[in-house]
């Protein structure tokens, strides 16, 4: 009888398998993650501390040390007094130019691309595949090839150096990748939903605005993030298709940091750079979760 008692008692392994917290695997994994994180954060740290130091402190050369005395003077100067060429009104002008470029470009490109994607996914018209292929092909052509022809086109349209011209360029260049993104997302929406809406008498626009769009918040967020950061960070198109009065923030930043006359004001440069990067950074922080969800959702079907 002793044997059967042994069988019924609960000696030996029971419940969840114990896991060692300090296993070699964990140490290597978290150690690597920590080192990589520090590696990426150090430049940001240097920028932050330098931007709140005065020039005398910077000249002492301790770039890693915390500031002895915190001053926001460099930030103010970068925003409203830093000089580019003859203008000394700081980055603020570039900031507003960038806003004037980014907002309409984002809205126009997403509006058109989402309708493109919807039409390609749901209303398979004749030649849809050819149209799609041509559009996607556009994504693989290097920009440099198109720079000069576009200058001529814009000049003939009378839009060269003007903001609407640059907005048009951004909207066009966003089209291939955004259309792909939207098409894939709309393809992943069950076709029966689209059929049901047709039986319910909704037309092309009715289905788009009342059925498809309300279901597609994640993909719209992804598109907004891609476009806002892409267009805000653009330098090449900004410097080519505008004139100094219309330069976006990135171009102006470059001109401030690379100006050769006078003393190099590292703290002002750092502050200016941080100011320029603030918008994309804010966008990432606010919408990180939605971004991942949307990308994953759009990636399921090709």
């Amino acid at each position: 009888m002793a044997d059967s008692a042994d069988v019924h008692s609960l000696d030996g392994p029971r419940g969840p398998k114990p896991r060692k917290k300090l296993s070699r695997r964990n140490i290597i994994l978290y150690g690597t993650l920590f080192v990589v994180a520090v590696y990426y954060l150090i430049p940001l740290y240097v920028m932050l501390v330098t931007s709140v130091k005065g020039m005398p402190e910077i000249r002492m050369g301790n770039i890693f040390s915390l500031p002895l005395e915190i001053t926001f003077e460099p930030w103010v100067k970068a925003w409203s007094q830093a000089c580019t060429g003859l203008n000394c009104d700081g980055l603020s002008r570039g900031f507003w130019n960038s806003v004037k470029i980014t907002v309409p470009s984002v809205v126009i490109s997403i509006a058109i691309a989402s309708i493109n994607g919807y039409a390609l996914a749901n209303w398979r018209f004749k030649g849809a595949n050819l149209f799609f292929t041509v559009l996607i092909f556009g994504a693989f052509i290097p920009y440099q090839i198109m720079l000069y022809p576009l200058v001529i086109i814009l000049r003939d349209l009378g839009l060269y150096t003007k903001l609407p011209g640059l907005i048009m360029i951004h909207s066009i260049f966003g089209m291939p990748i955004l259309t792909l993104l939207f098409r894939n997302y709309f393809t992943s929406i069950p076709e029966e939903l689209f059929k049901a809406a047709r039986v319910d008498g909704a037309g092309f626009w009715g289905i788009y605005f009342r059925v498809m769009m309300p279901m597609s918040l994640p993909i719209f967020v992804v598109a907004i993030i891609l476009q806002v950061t892409g267009i805000w960070n653009d330098f090449l198109f900004g410097v080519i298709y505008t004139k100094p009065a219309n330069y976006p923030m990135t171009v102006q930043l470059n001109n401030i940091v690379n100006s050769v006359q006078g003393v190099k004001e590292y703290n002002v440069n750092m502050a200016a750079t941080l100011l320029t990067g603030l918008v994309p950074l804010a966008v990432y922080f606010i919408s990180g979760k939605l971004f991942v969800r949307g990308i994953a959702a759009g990636a399921v079907k090709g």
Binding site: P190, K195, V199
Partner: protein, 364 residues
Amino acid sequence: MNSIEIKKLSLNFDEVVVLKDLDLTIEKGEFLVLLGASGCGKSTLLNCIAGLLDVTDGQIFINGKNVTWHEPAQRGIGMVFQSYALYPQMSVKGNLSFGLKNAGLPKEEIEKRVKHASEMLQIESLLERKPAALSGGQRQRVAIGRALVRDVEVFLFDEPLSNLDAKLRTELRVEIKRLHQKLDNTMIYVTHDQIEAMTLADRIAVMRDGLILQLDDPKTIYNAPANKYVAGFIGSPGMKFLKGTILQNDKPIFKLEGGWSESPDLSNYKFQESIKTETQVWLGIRPESVVVGGEAKNMPVNFSLEVEVVEPMGADTLVWSQIGGQEFRFIIDGNISVNVGDRVTVGFDPAHVSIFDFDNEERL
């Protein structure tokens, strides 16, 4: 009067022929089930009737009007989908009224119809909820409601119960039947489930490869299937087929291939036409038309065989055996106990078998 008339309908996807020269007439108030394995073209046919697919050739009439080129919404149909296809961001009420708003109906009329439909389907308490907050059965009810509010002549169901669990499926099946009795409008119902087909239909159209193999009432389809495919598709567990020849002397006699002590006399089987001797055939016997024990002795054909596998299913028990090297199975009452190796006496009435030509598999 005919509710739906389909004339010479063909549909190709590029090179693939899905429907060919299909003719179908459905009477007003009829419940027609399109039954077939997946890929037989039954859903495609339904989509053509709904106007969701452009046909390659042929015409579709609904209520005597040629609607071949009409938009789905103009055809006077309501449709229920397998995946419910409810608009996820709208409330139940929004889902029900979406089509009516698109049609430009006045507000009071919309209210009235939504109220009527939701009472009928017992979903009044759910009107403010979003589809995500509903169970599968409730969702499908709302989907039916969406067709109901449109106040249409023809209802189209595309495998509406396939996403539900077995218990709910039987419940909603009855409800759909009740709904049909109450509304008395034409319903076309696509399914691959033969039980749904048998229970719901006034007539069943069994389809394969874009063709209708047999269009008849459920009883005829069950008792006198037009060919071997239909015979095997309808009934669960399915009909078993014995290979053999018919010898015609003074009466038709079935000779099993592989040898069998019995040679059943088929004189009370109703042949479609007189049959030549030495015709190779399939003899189909439904497991449930075989009887055992004392009853078997009274049957025109009876014999004994050895039990090989026993599958108890509760009410019934399915028994597998062999006749002359060919598989044979039959159903007995679940209370009778049989064991592997037992010898049992079984019998059947040749009037209740089906005989098919060996080559073209058509009913003889």
